[in-house]
Amino acid sequence: MNIAFFYALTGIGLFTLGLYALIKHKHLLRKILAINVMGSGVLLVLVALAARTQNTPDPVPHAMVITGIVVAISATALALALMLRLCETSGRAELPDEPME
């Protein structure tokens, strides 16, 4: 067990925590936060596993993670705008329990 695997396991922990919160919480802002935590977990696993080299870590996953961070903020911004629009039209920042007719 070295540092790479320790951080990879932390990443799995973060992902699972986020997934649990995503399913459990109803408020959409909490769901968006949960998705962000999940994303951080995935990126942590990727970079941790890239650090298993002898000298310098693998730069390809690093570049992919930078791409991932930018895509994550784009998705978060769009999700927040959708949430605000939903709140404007329905008056609450939650999805309805029953499917709409």
Partner: protein, 337 residues
């Protein structure tokens, strides 16, 4: 040596534990505002974790985008949410109490099932990760061998803008698409510029030029050391967010075509370079060796400006109202409603 290893292990375990704890508190805290502030702290500690994993490029991006701009976006959304749902507050309260009362056996069963399923899921993931070989070379040697052909000496920039430029091209498109989505969700906002206090005004005047300078430095240094277009763009966006928060709005002249031109410039320059190379008989996104460095700098400079303005526009949320065709816009806005 032993003491040093022990110390670094102590640091890593503390960092990992704090990350988990912060993530848990972020998602479990009653107060949404507190949750978001904890999420910003979580992002900053993630940047520290990236440094521990020898990924300074990602640490820079995470500190600026992951912690800074995402936090600003979330806080702005929360503020709008709370001001928008002031009157429907009692409704939310009642749903919460109803949910508390209605917490039946079915829900507890559901929660139990969820925990069991997630435990199985975690066990599977841990097994997969631990069964990976302890050491690999990955693609680091391939990248190191071809680094001379890329035109830059920072391996991460070489991967981002040369070896896997396709990813970066599509990423710029994703950023633009997100902004288009947000703009189409709301009608354009009125231009309401407001003056800030003297202290804030002075601070902005000092900080914004400094941020622009840092952004330029990060862009330039990305060729041979940690840095690059995304980090530079997000620092530029931070300057934009600061200006927007102090009440500054882009002039009416720039809110129309000029703004849209700046938004698509990064993607456009990238596509033009790619198409020109195809027309000259090369392959898509293949840069000739002698010009590769210049091409990368050109694309990165355009991308930095576009990323910075796009991220600041994401924060602003609505498209600014153009000056000339305001009457026709209002008509279409009324039709939408």
């Amino acid at each position: 040596m032993e003491a040093l290893t022990l110390l670094s292990w102590g640091f890593d375990v503390t960092l990992g534990g704090t990350l988990m704890w912060l993530a848990w508190r972020t998602l479990a805290s009653e107060d949404l505002f507190k949750g978001i502030v904890l999420f910003i702290a979580f992002g900053l500690l993630m940047a520290l974790a990236w440094v521990r994993l020898d990924a300074p490029d990602i640490a820079l991006a995470e500190a600026a985008i992951g912690a800074g701009l995402t936090g600003a976006l979330l806080l702005a959304a929360l503020a709008k949410l709370e001001s928008g749902s002031k009157e429907s507050q009692p409704l939310q309260e009642s749903t919460i109490t109803k949910a508390m009362v209605n917490k039946s056996d079915k829900q507890i069963l559901f929660r139990l099932l969820l925990v069991i399923l997630l435990s199985v899921f975690v066990a599977g993931l841990v097994y997969v990760v631990l069964s990976l070989p302890l050491q690999t070379i990955g693609l680091s040697e391939t990248v190191a061998e071809n680094l001379d052909a890329s035109g830059v000496s920072n391996p991460v920039t070489a991967v981002l803008l040369n070896f896997r430029a396709y990813d970066t091209l599509l990423e710029l498109a994703v950023l633009l698409l997100a902004l288009l989505g947000i703009w189409s969700l709301r009608s354009p906002s009125e231009r309401n510029e407001s003056a800030s206090g003297k202290v804030l005004d002075m601070l902005t005047r000092l900080l914004v030029p400094l941020l622009i300078l840092v952004s330029g430095y990060l862009l330039w240094v990305g060729g041979h050391a940690p840095g690059g277009a995304f980090q530079a763009g997000s620092v530029l966006a931070a300057a934009g967010v600061l200006l927007l928060l102090t009440g500054w709005r882009p002039g009416v002249r720039f809110a129309g075509l000029a703004l849209r031109f700046a938004l698509v410039m990064g993607l456009a320059v990238f596509v033009i370079v790619a198409v020109v190379m195809v027309l000259l008989g090369g392959r898509l996104l293949e840069f000739p060796l002698s010009f590769a460095g210049n091409f990368i700098l050109l694309i990165e400079a355009a991308a930095t400006l576009s990323i910075g303005i796009t991220l600041a526009a994401l924060f602003f949320g609505t498209r600014p109202k153009p000056a000339q065709s305001s009457a026709s816009r209002e008509e279409s806005g009324a039709q939408e409603r």
